[in-house]
Symmetry: D2
């Protein structure tokens, strides 16, 4: 966040943190929220055996999970408070094995609309301090207003 | 497997079962392999709190995980023994909340090629015996031959 | 249409035909509407030099065009009369060179929702009477109501 | 190409220009190649009635066509001379009506691999000198070596 300190509304951070804490699947994975800014959210996931597929790489589904949450929460930062969000669809390209010490998913809003918001997420494999792009997602998120049980 | 008994090569079933058992992430989710046939694989996932997102639905990432494994293993049934498989990309549309007692992901090969295989996966939410389509995936799987550590 | 003769409401056919006739790009390609049924639309495109890319195959963009229109009009058959439709996103896998005498795009609704409808389109290359699957699309179509200039 | 003059190998430009000139569908649309650099290609398409859909916007298929060519040629700049390229799949989100005087598709390589290359394309609608993002594509391109009739 170099060069843009103190710019983020604490209420926005709290809103995303509160919703993230309700995503039990994030705890199952061991993922944590590391950054919230308007239109941008970053999630970290330590690489761990319980996340892996048959070759010892993190499963594409786990990679997709943090990418989807990063993209979705980036989109949620652009929605009115109290609105709920659902992912309508996403597409992910898996570019390199998801290995190393930690994965980082960086979600960004491309275009926020009234009903649909397009966000992207890049996932980096971090190893020995180096970041390598291992996946890229585009996600279409839908703003849900006034539906019981679907807020934030 | 009603109506098509004894048609499947036991070696094929063993091959997929062995690979599936190495996917630690399947155990983390609680998913199990329920059906293997040439070009088709089905995976079951009991709905459970540890898989959910903030609204109490199964997280899109968990839905994607079983869809990706079902599509990928369907593709693997069409590849030569000893070949490895990696998902190059997938796209999933989330059509209805993933709720109920159990999810079922049904993967099918659309076209098997030498390098790339296209497979689809439909995910159904099962509740009180009724099946409702809740997600649809298309996945491009890549045959990997002769790469150390990447087999089946 | 074997087994389901006379089942299609003529008003539905007229509605799709009228909209199709307004798509100037269909005339530019040489595409024609060959079948309309509830949830299904088929479009034919004679293979022609003016549609090709550098290897002499029909350009992926032309293949996508008839697939998008077939999927979109299939979705439109499931929407209320007077509603407009826009494609929010689509994904297409190109499975084989688009060659032969004619392409056929067959669009089908997977799930019709109030705001979003998922449809698929399969594109076949027809040569000497044989049909070969050459592309598969999934498309998310959005129902537009009450927007000036966007109807059918 | 302001700020980076003389940086681009003329042979690379010629290679892409020669292939582009063979894409008859580009001439059908009225598209032209406006920029070639390593990993980046830009295509311009004047908005014209013969490209439109029923609401008077440029058809999503025409938008996809220039995006696919821009992404594909960007990928081709990263492939060995003589290699052919085919699009394996692409996904496009349509973000705003494609209107105005001209569309510009800007293709960029995200990751070049031996077999598969991921590229993106952004499409802008240009009106009165202002650029508005109207579509975003991700495309998986495949390097084809040694197949008769498939080069560049």
């Amino acid at each position: 966040m170099t060069g843009e300190p103190a710019a983020v509304d604490p209420a926005l951070i709290t809103r995303i943190e509160t919703s993230f804490a309700k995503q039990a699947f994030m705890a199952t994975l061991g993922a944590r929220l590391v950054r919230v800014a308007p239109g941008e959210v970053e999630i970290a996931l330590p690489v761990s055996a319980h996340l892996c597929q048959q070759h010892g790489f993190v499963h594409a589904g786990a990679v997709s999970t943090i990418a989807d949450s990063a993209a979705g929460y980036a989109a949620l930062t652009a929605m009115p408070a109290g609105a709920g969000i659902l992912t309508a669809e996403f597409k992910i390209n898996l570019l390199a094995p998801a290995t190393g010490e930690e994965l980082r998913a960086l979600g960004k809003v491309v275009k926020a609309g009234r009903t649909l918001t397009l966000a992207t997420a890049e996932v980096f494999a971090v190893s020995g301090g180096a970041r390598k792009l291992c996946a890229m997602m585009t996600a279409t998120c839908m703003t849900i207003a006034g539906r019981e049980g679907v807020a934030d």
